[in-house]
């Protein structure tokens, strides 16, 4: 996706103005398997880069997801409460998790663009083999 940035912990970040929308990548949802529960953060929570935001529970595991940026949570995707499987079905669209009002846009420079992320995934897969 053009204009989308990625983290090593498999979150994507889409920026519009000074608000970033954050979700899990297709690779991440595939690794997790069927997602059954998303522990959502509360609006108003202040996050720093690398903070654990909540947990995602699938039928086989439970993992933390992390904040790629610093800022305040301004919106969360309430639909995930009743339909967590949306992340499996449409990870980069309807499956978004939360939105953050960015404190420091320069931080975005530390994230990967799409081609870097693809390279990163390739490296991960090679290491596994």
């Amino acid at each position: 996706m053009a204009g989308v940035l990625y983290t090593k912990t498999h979150e994507w970040v889409k920026v519009k103005g000074d608000v970033a929308t954050i979700g899990l990548t297709d690779y991440a949802q595939g690794e997790l398997g069927d997602i059954v529960f998303v522990e959502m953060p509360e609006v108003g929570t202040e996050l720093s880069t690398g903070d654990s935001v909540g947990t995602i529970e699938s039928v086989k595991t439970v993992s933390d997801y992390y904040s790629p940026v610093t800022g305040e949570i301004v919106e969360v995707n309430d639909n995930l409460e009743d339909a967590p499987e949306t992340i499996n079905e449409d990870p980069s669209g309807e499956g978004w998790i939360y939105r953050v009002k960015l404190e420091d846009k320069d931080e975005l420079e530390d994230l990967m663009d799409e081609s870097d992320y693809k390279q990163y995934l390739k490296k991960l897969q090679e290491e596994e083999e």
């Binding site: 529960f37 522990e39 947990t55 529970e57 595991t61 439970v62 933390d64």
Partner: protein, 446 residues
């Protein structure tokens, strides 16, 4: 791949890594005389000799003539003989949730029914398969609060059982939680105005006991509910299960988590155990609950079946992020409680609670005749605090007559409570018991 931890080459590798020559070096901090000391135990005995020895010791435990009004967390209720009969059956006689649970459908169904009873009893959405005892269940509730809230402060009412407080302190000693206590008012219940002064945004939980340790009913439920709505803490109640049938329930108080001691539901006092902790929460907190949870689902053929559910909460999956390391339950006692509640039914439990109310008031009126005074003005369920200027003397003299007039509060709260006794009365007392008490009091108090 080897699954044995102690292959010789592994040991060598580990010792090398630790930079020690042999395993004994790891124990060098312990003085040698404390390692495998020679035990002073007598020679072996024949079965007959052991039988005689143990029988003679067991005779000293004969309490059949003892009339005890001691409660303080563990109560003298009548245990119907059918409970012993059924719970003693091989199919039920297990201490734990099974480790290959889904093949034990009967055990899982019993636990599921236990959970359903606890939900009905507490008025909350979800209950677990049970815990060790009321104290650890309450401490686990504090862990749940700390896992859900940013705040680090746990406010305990002074009405919480003093031994429960110690267990909570132990549980939280290695966390950064702070425990504060809020005292009681002149009625013997939690002092709401003091509570207001120490509540803040950093408060993760407020913990009360209902009835509280002194027997008093915490009746200001509206005040608690309002404070909870204002400050957003997790409100935890440690309750007496039988009292729930005459008291306002969780909805009125706004409890998020209710725990308690299940011993009154078909367990003997047995000098203090085994006990049974129960734990219920609103569904919002289901994923941070401790212990095992049994769920009802359908199998591949579409038939009902029972499974362990929400296991991603537990430490074998969530590891260090799990809120609790409890991964079993108190299955035998939970089964007994299930049998007890199903035997009595809702009406039976209501009647039981009503008889407890009535008989404990009869006990109070007898004690008042002999100069005892009820210390607190708050209402009580089946236990209350009384004072008498000769309390200690009367207590000791009654003890010689095999009557235990409650517990001495000085044992829990020190010297200023020398004149105070905590006494309880349940359905387990008959006219002849009250008459015996009264006769003995007459002889003792001159």
């Amino acid at each position: 791949m080897h699954f044995f931890p102690h292959l010789p080459e592994n040991e060598i590798k580990i010792l090398k890594e630790l930079n020690v020559q042999n395993i004994n070096e790891l124990f060098s901090d312990i003085s040698s005389q404390n390692i495998n000391p020679e035990l002073k135990i007598p020679e072996g005995m024949s079965e007959l000799e052991v039988d005689r020895l143990l029988s003679s010791k067991a005779l000293k435990n004969n309490i059949s003539n003892v009339l005890s009004f001691a409660g303080a967390g563990i109560y003298p209720h009548y245990v119907p003989s059918v409970i012993d009969e059924i719970s003693g059956r091989g199919e039920y006689y297990t201490a734990y949730t099974p480790y290959q649970p889904e093949v034990s459908q009967g055990t899982l169904q019993t636990i599921y029914e236990f959970q359903s009873y606890i939900c009905a009893l507490t008025g909350l959405d979800v209950a677990n398969a049970s815990m060790y005892d009321g104290a650890t269940a309450l401490a686990e509730a504090c862990l749940l609060a700390l896992a859900n809230k940013k705040g680090k402060k746990i406010i305990l009412s002074a009405g919480v059982h003093p031994e429960y407080k110690k267990v909570i302190q132990t549980y939280l000693s290695c966390t950064d939680a702070e425990i504060e206590e809020v005292g009681l008012n002149e009625h013997g219940t939690t002092d709401i105005s003091k509570l207001k002064t120490i509540l803040d945004k950093d408060t993760a939980a407020v913990v009360i006991s209902n009835p509280n340790f002194f027997g008093n009913i915490e009746n200001e439920y509206n005040e608690f509910l309002n404070l909870k709505n204002e400050f957003g803490f997790i409100f935890i109640g440690s309750v007496n299960p039988v009292a729930q049938f005459v008291l306002k329930n969780s909805k009125h108080y706004g409890f998020d988590v209710v725990t308690g001691e299940g011993q009154p539901l078909g367990m003997y006092q047995s000098f203090g155990g085994p006990c049974l902790g129960f734990f219920a929460a609103s569904s919002k907190y289901a994923r941070k609950m401790p212990g095992r949870i049994v769920g009802l689902t359908t199998d591949a053929d579409g038939k009902d079946c029972f499974v362990l559910t929400l296991q991603a909460r537990e430490q074998h999956i969530r590891r260090d992020k799990a809120t609790s390391n409890i991964c079993s339950n108190q299955a035998l006692c939970a089964s007994r409680a299930t049998m007890y509640m199903s035997l009595l039914g809702k009406t039976g439990m209501q009647n039981l609670a009503a008889v407890n109310l009535k008989k404990s008031r009869r006990l109070l009126s007898i004690l008042e005749k002999y100069g005892f005074k009820k210390v607190f003005s708050a209402e009580f369920f089946n236990e209350f605090t009384v004072s008498h200027n000769q309390a200690e003397d009367i207590y000791n003299k009654l003890l010689q007559k095999d009557i235990v007039l409650g517990v001495k509060l000085s044992d829990f709260h020190g010297g200023s409570y020398n004149d105070k006794l905590l006494v309880c009365c349940t359905e387990n007392f008959l006219d002849e018991d009250f008459e015996r008490l009264e006769k003995s009091l007459k002889e003792v108090i001159k």
